[in-house]
């Protein structure tokens, strides 16, 4: 059994989390068939292979054990508490897609190993959720009524698909879906493109439509930018782009204009590759493929921020602001000592920057800061 380090910050957070769980009932489909895991101060998963008879038992656990992180399996099992995995007897699994702002190549301020995400970072992750939904609906034909979207509680979003039609997909099938979404293993020739002969694929396909329309956007870049992308001389690109409208019209008709010299094939390949890169969905592969992964239970608290991993209706997603809508603790004054924190905004109010100072802040800010290493005073 893991021996927890019980600092006063840990005790404080647990107390506050318990109060939250006493007032908020957490519901989840198929509780009895899920495996659960929980985390303690500074450790997201300290224990797993836990099972509950129903949502009441699960909520009682949340109130009494006061976990700082609480996760569940996307898989359903006949015996979720059994070990090792093969003894659990898998019955099926949801499809889960995850975007984390720190995986999107964005610049995030980091202080002593802690990342300070801002609204702009999470907006970027939100954009990816919208793109993913476009793939799921238009290409895969999934019904958005089957989607359940939630904020991760820290740096991203999760999209769960809980439907009978996908529950029995094998691991390979899940890999295929991920490869499709992330553009992995795409072969233009197999989709009907032939850059040598100047042929653009035109058949009915989500990816082909996406690639062709984005390729036309790529062509709107300056010759200098296109030269950097394609490695072809700027002069040759300029000559081609003198008749840009015709070139774009050519793509609509399924024809590529030939570039002067020998690099025409290479140029078009790079243009279309860039189109793929701009359109792919950068989901977390492991989350979607690993049938035994456990992931944050929607509407539970995140021990690094004190934010709730809030479930969001698709129609409210655009407006959702995690730094406002996921803050659940009140304004009770609380003193904390902070080594270093940048300026940040919670519930529409700016706080910080702080450096080696003891301050009195509202409870929701204190909890947020404790997750980043602040000490209780």
């Amino acid at each position: 059994m893991f021996v927890e380090e019980e600092s006063k910050e840990s005790i404080f957070l647990k107390q506050k989390f318990s109060e939250y769980y006493s007032k908020n009932f957490i519901d989840l489909p198929n509780v009895e068939n899920r495996e659960f895991g929980f985390g303690v101060f500074k450790r997201k998963i300290a224990n797993r292979n836990i099972a509950f008879r129903d949502a009441n038992e699960m909520n009682s656990f949340l109130r009494n054990h006061k976990p700082l992180f609480f996760s569940y399996s996307n898989a359903y099992y006949e015996f979720p508490e059994r070990r090792p995995m093969e003894n659990k007897m898998i019955l099926g699994a949801d499809l889960i897609y995850e975007f984390d702002a720190d995986e999107l190549g964005l610049e995030v301020e980091e202080i002593e190993g802690k990342q300070w995400f801002e609204k702009k970072h999470l907006d970027e992750a939100k954009k990816q959720i919208f793109r993913l939904i476009e793939f799921l609906e238009n290409d895969f034909g999934f019904d958005s009524k089957e989607f359940s979207i939630n904020f991760s509680g820290k740096a991203g979003y999760h999209l769960h698909i809980r439907s009978d039609s996908i529950k029995n997909l094998n691991k390979q099938a899940r890999i295929e879906l991920v490869d499709y979404l992330t553009g992995s293993g795409i072969y233009f020739e197999k989709l009907g493109y032939d850059f040598e002969k100047g042929v653009v694929a035109k058949t009915k396909s989500g990816w082909i439509e996406r690639i062709n329309s984005t390729a036309k956007e790529v062509l709107k870049l300056s010759p200098k930018e296109l030269s950097i992308i394609t490695g072809v001389q700027q002069k040759k690109i300029s000559t081609l782009l003198e008749k840009k409208e015709e070139v774009i019209e050519g793509i609509n008709r399924g024809v590529l204009f030939k570039l002067e010299g020998k690099k025409s094939n290479e140029f078009w390949k790079k243009v279309f590759q860039t189109a793929v890169e701009k359109q792919l969905s950068p989901i977390d592969r492991q989350t979607s493929i690993d049938l035994h992964k456990i992931i944050r239970v929607p509407n539970t608290l995140h021990g690094d921020t004190g934010f709730v991993a809030k479930t969001i209706n698709l129609e409210n997603l655009e407006e959702f602001d995690p730094f406002v809508d996921s803050v659940v603790f009140d304004n009770t004054p609380q003193r904390v000592f902070i080594k270093k924190a940048p300026k940040f905004t919670l519930k529409g109010t700016n706080f910080g920057p702080f450096e080696n100072e003891e301050v009195e802040v509202p409870l929701f800010v204190a909890i947020y800061l404790i997750g980043k290493g602040a000490e209780l005073r």
């Binding site: 992995s184 795409i186 197999k190 058949t203 009915k204 396909s205 990816w207």
Partner: protein, 347 residues
Amino acid sequence: MDQLIFLQNFPFTEKSRNFLKESKLNPEDVSGTIIKRAALIISRANSNQEYVLDLTNSSREMIQNEIIAFPVAKLILSSMNTPNIKEKFSLLMKKKTFTAIIHHSNPKKIALSLADDFGIKYTLSDEKEFFVEIKLIDYLDIYFVDDESKLINKNVSNGTVYLSINDFARFLSEKAYKKVFDSLPIEKKFIPKTFVNYAKTIDSQLSVIEKKSFDLKLVGKINPDLFPPCMKVLYSDQASGKKLSYLGRLVLASFLFQLGMRKEELLSLFSKSPDYKKHISEYHIDRIYQKKLSAPGCKKMADYGLKVKECENECKSTHPVRYYISKLRYKNKFKKQNELKNKEGVN
């Protein structure tokens, strides 16, 4: 006759199963000829060869024998210990299915008959580039053994996958793989004792063939004949599908990595392990490549218990890689001298 040829081409179908049911054949009564055909199918599967018959001049009885040989082969290989024989047999059926559809005089007709037998729901496509349309969820019900089947390179729109006849044949062959793979192994209680004996005989014959091919074959540019004795044993055991210890595998893999073996080749070699699990092997091989692990020296090999008695007489080196390089240099020098001599002779 056409119906019989269909059953022989696709012996895993419901039609074939019904044919066998109606024939009321007792597995213990099958003839020696059928056993031999079954053994041949298994052997072809093990060596990744195709199994396609030209049935134009075959008698009815010959075709019937071929149909019966399929379940007999399944019964036999269910008792076999040859590594990955289940996967290889399923793969042989996959290839056979694809070939039978594509080379048929009417590929579309035969593909639809097979799809009907599998119970696949499809719609004939109105789009001129495609033959059929199937639901995405149905398309995903395969194991994607072949990269050609990858979803990303198919035309997918609104939950429908659009397939040309070639794509459809590939999909059906993947379905055949899944059907055969999922039906194996057959429970022991259904296997006649005589078949268990056949299984043992075939196991030992295949093992001999594997060892012989190890003696003959060079993997890529690496020459196993130049391996030090300790590595020769590990390599030979691995190539013939024996279960190596964890250390044995690690040492062999890092040695081959140092000699420049490619990841795919290493994975293919380790796929012969009786307890082979692709993702675990991939993980370990990736780690070796990432960490650039070196094979241990001879002293450590002795500590690990991997030294063999031939090491005393044949090996004067202190490291397996050094041994290999010196042998390779000697061989190349010898080869060059011979080439030079031949050249001088010609002049």
